[in-house]
């Protein structure tokens, strides 16, 4: 039950993108097409889960004073793994995402979960939390990228959806579109989850 709570927390209540609004650089930058959104989400989920497990296992060994540099090294190691893996097996995706794969190392979500959660609980709960947060991040940026791709290019996962007469809103796949879609989605999320005023 506790595990399920930890898992759901990241997906909805404390969704990193829409509720906590952290780690948004990559969420805005790579979301020009739905495929990129999913790939980025999976890359981050991998780094987040692996580093949460390792940090949770090492939580009694790492001295409190130098904990942040220790966390950073753990995160950097797994980021390097993802970086080399993507470069080798998905070169075209890697080309599009540019420096945002290596930049997972400074993504606030990973460090925030390490500091706030993984360093305090056992590896099982840390895994549940990391998977939840990773999935929460993935669905959020996939949604953003689907909206941007559909409006900006008229396609979804590369397939044409809009009819022949559709003029793509090029602005949506340019930087301003990312900020505006993000703002509207955060606003919608606030509206949905707002507690009724008594």
């Amino acid at each position: 039950m506790q595990l399920f709570k930890d898992f759901i927390n990241g997906i909805w209540n404390e969704n990193p993108i829409f509720r906590m609004v952290i780690g948004i650089c990559s969420a805005l930058a790579v979301t020009t097409a739905a495929n990129n959104g999913i790939a980025m989400g999976m890359a981050l989920t991998f780094v987040l889960t692996c580093s949460s497990i390792l940090i949770s296992l090492l939580r009694n060994i790492i001295p409190a004073k130098v904990r942040i540099p220790c966390y950073i090294i753990v995160v950097a190691t797994f980021t390097t793994v993802v970086d080399l893996f993507m470069k080798a097996y998905f070169p075209s995706l890697y080309e599009v995402m540019g420096i945002f794969i290596p930049l997972i190392v400074v993504n606030c979500i990973v460090l925030a979960r390490a500091e706030a959660f993984a360093s305090k609980v056992g590896p099982v709960r840390a895994t549940a939390d990391a998977l939840g947060m990773g999935l929460g991040y993935t669905w959020a940026i996939t949604l953003i990228s689907m909206i941007r791709e559909l409006m900006g290019a008229g396609t979804l996962f590369g397939y044409h959806i809009m009819g022949e007469g559709f003029t793509p809103w090029t602005i949506m796949i340019m930087p301003p579109g990312a900020f505006i879609v993000m703002g509207i989605l955060v606003g919608l999320m606030n509206m949905i989850t707002r507690k009724p005023v008594e």
Partner: protein, 196 residues
């Protein structure tokens, strides 16, 4: 050479502003753009660290990583460690040299380690094969662009506090939409300098 440097600096301040068109450093951009005073303090501290990081990244890349063939797998780890220790060093030096300055922007320094602009500048230098002077220009330009973005945003946010924003959009949502409009304005600079 002078022309190229000018292009790098102007390019990273206006045309490819790190916040508005490259989406880097958005977390501190949202976090500290409440008040103009703190925003400018953060901007200056970041510019300082960025310029020093550019120099450090250049030397590490060309004198340690590349000659020993460590580049593919140690680049991320070594850059992030250098940035973290550099920030710590700057903090210690400022505390010793000028406590007044430390009080002014000391609290921002630990935050800079996780600012993605710093890591991005370090990674962009080997990617573009910049020499030392160009690296410094990139660091400086990125810092000034970040400061400009923060200063603009904080000015707008100070006024937004008195505006009648729909309830659901209060907080980060309206900041994103404002940033979108600012980003639209920055698109107007496209073509100001030829692409590198």
């Amino acid at each position: 050479m002078a022309k190229e440097l000018f292009f790098i600096i102007i390019g990273s301040i206006f045309v490819n502003n790190f916040v508005f068109s490259r989406f880097l450093g958005n977390c501190p951009f949202l976090g500290v753009s409440n008040k103009t005073e703190t925003a400018i303090g953060m901007g200056i501290a970041t510019t300082f660290v960025l310029t020093m990081t550019a120099v450090a990244a250049y030397f590490i890349q060309n004198y340690v990583l590349a000659p020993f063939g460590l580049e593919p797998f140690l680049q991320i780890v070594s850059f992030i460690l250098v940035i973290a220790s550099l920030v710590q060093l700057v903090e210690m030096v400022i505390l010793k040299v000028s406590p007044a300055l430390y009080n002014a922007f000391g609290i921002f320094l630990p935050l800079i380690t996780t600012n993605c602009i710093v890591m991005a500048v370090a990674l962009l230098i080997p990617m573009n094969n910049y020499n030392l002077i160009k690296s410094i220009a990139l660091g400086l330009g990125a810092g000034l662009g970040f400061t400009l973005a923060l200063a603009l945003m904080s000015g707008i946010r100070e006024d937004l506090e008195f505006a009648d924003v729909p309830e659901a959009l209060r907080g980060p949502a309206i900041v994103f939409i404002t940033a979108g409009l600012l980003s639209l304005i920055f698109l107007g600079f496209t073509g100001l300098v030829p692409l590198a």
